[in-house]
Symmetry: C2
Subunit: 219 residues, 2 copies
DNA sequence: CTGTTATTCAATTGATCTATTGAATATTAG
DNA sequence: CTAATATTCAATAGATCAATTGAATAACAG
């Protein structure tokens, strides 16, 4: 059949993308990149990998078309190649969540137990923000906040939460968010806030998904 | 950091799914499965792999949560684990298409040249079907047609196209579809129909995407 | 019960992937 | 120009993957 080799060539190309999704460290790097662009050594520090190893994984991401680079001085900044990549990661997560018992177990034992109240969906949050019924806090580090955040959110990194008790409302609900559905910063922030008697919830998903949904963002 | 190991465990699980997408033969098997359930040896014949090899790839799909099995007599029927899997495959394709130059080259040289007219999107096709302005033909083999097809479509397998000239309208437009965006049957059918002077176009995407979009299906 | 068919299992070989190491390149500061 | 920093390159060793082969199950037909 004449069409078979072409078709196979296409699948070979699709498999290249699949292959880059086959390593947990690369997935972690992609999640960091979903926050915004990062230099190689920033990513190495975030991921805990060696510089050389990080560099090699990043090059694979670039070769598979998942990331692009921008050179500025001696730094090379990597960023996601486009929104479709966020969609792909989301689809991967969803399949894993839905069909792998191990994922369910991990989420149940480590995440769900930390947050009994329902997380608030993005659209619902936006509605309440317009009515000024909530205070939204971004618990990521300042660099990530600076690279883009939910419009109107305050930046209170998790480590500095204690210093900012006074700025937080006691009656109004507080909503925390961080990097994505499996970023634990927001879970921990909510736990701390509740421990102090404040009304706190977690935003469903995280900043990359918020931006990807086209909701209002500030830089 | 206490959250790190849990998070890494999650990425390890996601990577399991990614790994199963890293082999072109498995992707081909997934595309066949997207048409409907199939026995192991049907899939072996379709893919051209040995039975044992096919079986092993299928087991990997099952272990990664992408496929499920149903045993009936001596046959084991595999099928996709859910619609999220179709979404995932679609996302994978889209990223590859958008960012891999090699995919663009393959599509341009082997597919685009065979079909100068725009393919018709599913929703547009549905509208015209209701107005009875088009004849829709399903050019897949009868077994696949029998397992489910676009409501109202005629089954005219590519090899039998010549036998059915008389049944086809000469003035009304004919729309052909097959297995998916990279299935070539519809391209070839359109080429043959045009060569005979009929007005023919291809449906954008294929049957799995049609079904997944919730559009009307017949069994 | 025997032979047949569909599927899976187990063992092997060659290929590919990962992390590490140390060196090479490139940009900037002094 | 020299030293320092950020990144990449090249070579290596150990682990994992893919396809083949032949055998093992399991369901069915006669």
């Amino acid at each position: 059949m004449s069409s078979s080799p072409v078709k196979h060539q296409l699948f070979v190309q699709f498999a290249r993308v699949g292959k880059t999704l086959s390593n947990p460290h690369r997935l972690a790097l992609l999640e960091f990149l979903a926050q915004g662009e990062r230099s190689v050594d920033a990513l190495a520090r975030l991921s805990g990998l060696s510089i050389a190893n990080t560099s090699q994984h990043l090059q694979q991401l670039r070769q598979a078309g998942l990331a692009t680079t921008r050179k500025s001085g001696q730094f090379v900044h990597y960023q996601l190649a486009g929104d479709e990549v966020v969609v792909l990661l989301e689809a991967l997560r969803r399949v894993a969540e839905q069909h792998l018992a191990e994922v369910e177990r991990l989420v149940k034992t480590h995440l769900a137990s930390k947050d009994h109240l329902e997380p608030i969906p993005a659209d619902e949050l936006l509605k309440r923000m317009k009515q000024k019924r909530v205070t939204v806090i971004d618990v990521r580090p300042p660099e990530e906040y600076a690279a883009g955040h939910v419009a109107g959110a305050l930046n209170i990194p998790l480590e500095e939460l204690e210093k900012h008790w006074k700025e937080l409302p006691t009656s109004r609900e507080i909503v925390a968010y961080c990097r994505g559905p499996y970023c634990l910063l927001a879970y921990e922030a909510v736990a701390k806030l509740r421990h102090r008697g404040l009304k706190a919830r977690r935003m469903e998903k995280g900043f990359p998904e918020w931006r990807q949904a086209g909701l209002p963002v500030e830089m």
